[in-house]
Amino acid sequence: MAKWGMVIDLDKCTGCQACTTACAMENSTLPGETWQDVLFYHEGEYPNAQMKWLPRPCMQCESPSCVHVCPTRATYKDEEAGGIVFVDWNKCIGCKYCMIACPYGVRFYVDEKPLLEPDLREIFPGENQQLWSPPYQGPDEDWSKGIGVQPPGVVSKCTFCHHKVSKAPEGTVDLDEDNPAVKEYVPACVRTCAPKARYFGDLDEPTSQVNQLIGDKHGVRLKDHTGNKPQVYYLGAGAGVPAFQPSDKGDKS
């Protein structure tokens, strides 16, 4: 079985948030439930101030701390599915411990105050145990993997578009949107990326494009000191997370 990995080239990324939008459309997520987001960071001050941005899906860690803490095994790493970390909505008790334990802040509990008004959950009230029922929903639904629109009281997260990726022909190494044979199986964020900053493929296959890029272009993993070992790698300058600094506490020296 493949071990799916993503490579994001920050020298190509323009921070346009098309990936974020595509993800929200593909997975029917609510505003604020950003399974995929582009984070912006500013670092330093004039004359060397920088702005950097980091597209951020779930890192699908090799050693996921969210999985270790889940008291019901609702969140689990599925090696059969390419090492994707899923949430089984039939088992999740909504204790939110995984959200505490995820160093990357990529888990969402949308049974909370709406980020935007009007509240979409009131406009499209939930049916069939869904938290909300938007008029357009993807045809794929699998609550045991956290795919579809979730019921209330559970945690949701990026699934690496498993509902698409899993339909790729056996033995597929690179899920490249430029290849007509596999483009339908490419995760939404990868497929929509206009500057082609994202690559998706098999980390277990030495010849895969993702492995070549990581090796040739010095791919790094974010917050590597946490030991979670993400399956998402970053290329290019600016692949690092500045230390937290409140906005009113800039370097005044």
């Binding site: 604020g32 439930e33 987001d37 984070l39 912006f40 960071y41 500013h42 941005w53 980091l54 951020r56 701390s65 270790h68 803490v69 889940c70 008291p71 019901t72 095994r73 609702a74 088992k91 999740c92 008790i93 909504g94 204790c95 939110k96 411990y97 959200m99 505490i100 334990a101 995820c102 160093p103 990357y104 802040g105 990529v106 888990r107 969402f108 509990y109 949308v110 049974d111 909370e112 105050k113 709406p114 209330p152 009281g153 559970v154 945690v155 974010l222 917050k223 946490t226 997370v241 230390a243 937290f244 600094q245 409140p246 906005s247 009113d248 506490k249």
Partner: protein, 397 residues
């Protein structure tokens, strides 16, 4: 001396009615809010997922463990002068844990699913799995020990074994509860191998505060209504231990604050400078909720006065509640990997529903306490202790 217990009379019935009304009102309010708005009625968010209900649960669970540890002084370690409060400690530990568990239940997204999903999936890697196991067993052994005491079986082999098992479970449960926070290296404010020790210490301190308050409440805040061994305890070993416990708690907070302020790691130091020490309420809880009662209990002229002991217990009660709140929230105020979407420390104020859950927990504890005082003799002691006291009194008169 049991006839002097005012909880058995009209005062107790009055308190029962008041706490019952408050309990029902807060429970109904919380359930209406939760069923109409879900957890959107909380002020928590995906960025700060654990709020005041978790802090309340933590407070209750640790106060219960603290009372369990206090009960072990006579029941496990043979400090006989603590026998007069042993049964009340075990009872309070039981009901306070029940109250905490109810608050936690209403905080969860799917509470009934928890009942089968935790035991059946047996995720031994999760500290929260062990929390479920240890606190469930803790509850069971507290009940078992209480039944042994109720049947007058203080010193039988089984009773002693149950007492020792209960003590070990209390240590496991509260120590493991600390590790739920202490093992989270991605939350540096909590990450601390010695957090279980901090939790043990503060647990006993909050347990002691509860014990002093509820013991005096049972006797209408009149020491002369208490039995002689209990009066001796309340003017002897207990207030000194109370002083030592508050002092130890302050020491723990001081070393956590010093290391936190010293470090360059902004995920720890900023929590101290920009959240905790920037909050007037935190200062109030620290200086008035802990330091003032410590000074009161330290002074030999004050620590044996009944009103000073009650004042200290109420202050420590509130001070440690705030301490738990700031501990839980403090670990989450630095936004994790959010960039400039969240440029400052996260802010959190509990919502009306979250307050309702806390009030519900408190009122349930009072309700069950009065019922306990009414239906059981919580001041019961082994016959040997009662007889010794009786003989001493007879000799004195």
């Amino acid at each position: 001396m049991n006839e002097n217990n005012i909880m058995k009379g009209k005062a107790g019935s009055g308190l029962l009615v008041i706490s019952g009304v408050v309990f029902l009102a807060s429970l109904i309010f919380a359930i209406i809010q939760l069923s109409s708005q879900g957890h959107a009625s909380f002020n928590t968010s995906s960025n700060l997922p654990w709020g005041q209900p978790i802090a309340t649960y933590l407070y209750f669970a640790l106060a219960s463990s603290g009372l369990g540890l206090l009960a072990s002084l006579p029941l496990v370690f043979g400090f006989k002068q603590y026998y007069p409060v042993a049964k009340r400690c075990i009872f309070l530990a039981f009901i306070i844990l029940i109250s905490g568990m109810l608050v936690l239940a209403l905080e969860l997204g799917n509470v009934f699913r928890m009942l089968w999903a935790i035991p059946l999936n047996f995720q031994t890697q999760s500290a929260m799995f062990w929390m479920g196991i240890f606190y469930a067993l803790d509850l069971l052994f507290l009940l078992w020990k209480f039944r042994k005491m109720e049947s007058g079986e203080w010193d039988s082999k089984t009773s002693k074994q149950v007492g020792i098992a209960s003590f070990i479970l209390v240590l496991l449960a509260s120590g493991n509860l600390a590790l739920i926070f202490g093992m989270m290296s991605m939350r540096p404010f909590w990450f601390d191998a010695l957090l279980p020790i901090y939790f043990y210490f503060t647990a006993v301190t909050s347990g002691m505060a509860a014990l002093v308050f509820f013991a005096y409440l049972a006797y209408g805040f009149k020491r002369e209504n208490m039995s002689q061994p209990m009066q001796d305890l309340m003017t002897g070993a207990l207030p000194k231990l109370f002083a030592a416990l508050i002092g130890g708690t302050l020491l723990f907070i001081a070393v956590r604050a010093i290391t936190g302020l010293y470090t360059n790691n902004p995920e720890i130091s900023l929590v101290w400078t920009d959240y905790l020490f920037a909050s007037p309420l935190y200062h109030l809880s620290l200086w008035v909720g802990l330091l003032l009662p410590f000074i009161i209990m330290l002074k030999s002229s004050l620590r044996n006065q009944l009103n000073m002991q009650v004042l200290a217990s109420v202050l420590v009660f509130l001070g440690l509640f705030a301490e738990r709140f700031y501990f839980v929230i403090g670990g989450q105020v630095v936004p994790l990997f959010k960039g400039t979407w969240y440029p400052d420390l996260l802010t959190y104020t509990p919502s009306a529903t979250e307050w309702a859950l806390s009030i519900m927990g408190w009122s349930l504890a009072f309700l069950l306490y009065v019922l306990g005082e009414k239906f059981f003799n919580l001041s019961a002691m082994p016959d040997a202790i009662t007889n010794t006291a009786g003989n001493q009194q007879a000799a004195a008169s």
